[in-house]
């Protein structure tokens, strides 16, 4: 896991579901670039998360409302966001499978923070210091809690790496 993450902010409201992140109509996916190109395609926002020209996202940090990632268990949802360029989601709360997928895959750091942000934050430069557990928006620092018993999994880079280290498994 990268310890210092910097980039532009995107904003999502409450209850953004996994169907709008990676809709079933695009299944089966043709690969990583295809998945990145449709990330959050059915979430209505201006500008959209993925730039239709570059097929990638200019945004690194997603601020979200309640129960981010609700709905299905598809790992293609966090994958799509991460492959398009996002590295962190700072949400008021997460749906449980989406949160697990983020922790387990080690691609997208899920930070729970009951923040006051809204659409106005879109495009703002944000930095996230994972080790110090603080993110900075317009010079203001926001401290977030640690990951409790999940810290080891996050530090290992995901559940598979964690299990391999712990159990001495694998290739």
């Amino acid at each position: 896991m990268q310890t210092l993450i910097q980039g532009k902010a995107f904003y999502c409201g409450d209850f953004v579901d996994t169907d709008v992140m990676s809709p079933g109509r695009f299944e089966p996916y043709e690969g990583r670039d295809h998945l990145a190109s449709i990330a959050l395609i059915d979430y209505q926002a201006e500008p959209p998360f993925v730039d239709p020209k570059t097929k990638n996202s200019p945004f690194t940090v997603i601020f979200a409302g309640r129960e981010f990632g609700c709905g299905s268990s598809r790992e293609t949802a966090p994958q799509a966001l991460a492959y398009a360029g996002a590295k962190v989601v700072i949400a008021r709360s997460f749906a449980r499978i989406f949160f697990r997928n983020c922790v387990n895959m080690g691609l997208l750091l899920p930070i729970i923070y009951d923040h006051p942000f809204d659409e106005a934050i879109v495009g703002t430069e944000v930095s996230v210091d994972v080790e110090q557990r603080v993110f900075t928006v317009k010079g203001q620092e926001y401290h977030f809690s640690d990951f409790g018993p999940l810290t080891d999994i996050i530090q290992a880079g995901g559940l598979t790496q964690y299990n391999k280290q712990r159990l001495g498994l694998g290739a």
């Binding site: 089966p28 299905s72 499978i97």
Partner: protein, 422 residues
């Protein structure tokens, strides 16, 4: 020992502990798990890449594989995914494999019908509606690909012991009010994060009297409130179902201690329930049928399908309402039985001819348009009344369409009238 809910007891047993505390993290042994066609190919590749060319699954008899989301093959990649599953089943000697063919269907229905769900078990699927198994007093929950990848190797997974919400329903439901209406009512009341990460435990005389399939409908949609699992005590109807599908199994059901402290309690009188409809684009955007009728919402597609709304009894309700009468002009009625077993029973019980007389199209089993990949995609601005579980924007394949959720009874009545009604 602190008082335990049935969910606590199952997790404690699976973790080799006498009791557990709410909020505790533990590693539980998995009794049964599965994955399906959209996930397996990636899982297979990762399994060998991460754990070695000769890696073996923890126990081939505790794994089931289903082809349900992308059958019949939607395109060449779908077929490639199906073939990857053939290979994995052969390499790992997985007998509980249900490919497109003689005996297949939507994973959750297959899990129950094939006797893979028993009381007191920890059952995981790479699918959020794995919460269905609480209908048989099991701890069922959905996980993602990486969780399952690791479960396939080690047979265990970490969990946080959840808080438990009691939803008590007592009394006799009015005629034509179904489990779907109860769960939509609950969603209206607690919202899409009302049970986030928690257990919904159903109690009360109504729950005890529901048929096994209706109990499945209720547990199935607890995830729409964000629940980790839905669960209920074993009932006579659930026992009778298990006696049919798993005649040799020993049942060790669990109950909640009388002094267990729920984090929240909701109490409903069944007599007060009525048919409910979820409006686009959220399953908790629910109104009563009385309100909906007044609005005269026209629909052009009626979809009777999915792990929620295409079990045998769901389809029987539709047939009983239609009685061979023609669906309204301009309405297409799709009936997608959830499994071949249900399809066969429809034939045996003479449900097929009356449906055809009404103008219904009976599709082969599978997930189909429930999640919008194929088979019944809506046009722009088109509205569908569906017996499925989710109506997120684009869920049925077109972000410019509208999906309403209701019971099979409301679906059939709406098919006859061309607008949403009971």
């Amino acid at each position: 020992m602190p008082a335990q809910s049935m969910t606590h007891k199952i997790l404690a047993r699976a973790a080799g502990k006498e009791s557990v505390a709410t909020g505790e993290f533990l590693e539980a042994n998995v009794d049964m798990c599965f994955t399906h066609d959209p996930v397996l190919e990636s899982l297979r590749e990762l399994f060998y890449a991460e754990f070695g060319r000769d890696a073996k699954v923890f126990d081939p008899d505790k794994i089931a594989l289903f082809q349900d989301h992308l059958v019949p093959a939607k395109d060449a990649i779908s077929r490639r995914l199906a073939l990857a599953m053939d290979n994995f089943a052969a390499e790992q000697q997985i007998k509980n494999y249900y490919p497109y063919g003689a005996n297949f269907g939507v994973c959750h229905i297959m899990m129950c019908e094939q006797g893979h769900v028993l009381p007191n078990q920890v059952i995981l699927g790479t699918d959020s509606h794995s919460v269905t198994y609480g209908a048989f007093n099991a701890f069922g929950t959905g996980v993602g690909l990486v969780d399952m990848l690791n479960v396939f190797l080690v047979g265990k997974l970490w969990f946080r012991v959840p808080e438990v919400i009691e939803v008590r329903v007592d009394g006799q439901l009015p005629p034509n009010v179904l489990a779907k209406d109860i769960i939509l009512r609950l969603l209206q009341d607690i919202g899409m994060d009302g049970a986030s990460g928690k257990t919904i435990e159903f109690t009360g005389s109504t729950i005890d009297q529901l048929s096994a399939e209706e109990r499945m409908t209720l547990c199935n949609m607890t995830v729409e409130a964000g629940a980790k699992n839905g669960i209920m005590a074993l009932s006579d109807n659930a026992r009778a179902y298990l006696a049919r599908v798993a005649p040799n199994a020993t049942l060790n059901p669990v109950t909640t201690d009388p002094d267990f402290e729920y984090c929240q309690q909701l109490h409903y009188k069944a007599e007060d329930m009525q048919a409910m409809v979820a409006y686009p684009h959220r399953p908790d955007n629910v109104r009563t049928i009385t309100q909906t009728k007044d609005e005269h919402v026209p629909v052009t597609q009626i979809y009777v399908g999915s792990c929620t709304g295409a079990k045998f009894e769901d389809i029987q309700v539709v047939v009983d309402v239609l009685q061979g009468q023609k669906v309204a002009k301009g309405v297409q009625l799709l009936v997608v039985p959830a499994s071949t077993n249900i399809y066969r029973r429809m034939a045996e019980h003479n449900l097929i001819a009356p449906l055809l007389d009404s103008g219904a199209v009976i599709e082969s089993p599978g997930c189909k348009a429930c999640y919008g990949a194929h088979g019944g995609i809506l046009g722009d601005n088109e509205s569908c009344l569906s017996t499925t579980n989710r109506n997120f924007r684009g869920r049925m394949g077109n972000p410019n369409s509208f999906v309403y959720l209701a019971s099979p009874y409301v679906a059939a009545r709406s098919a006859l009238n061309g607008y949403i009604t009971d």
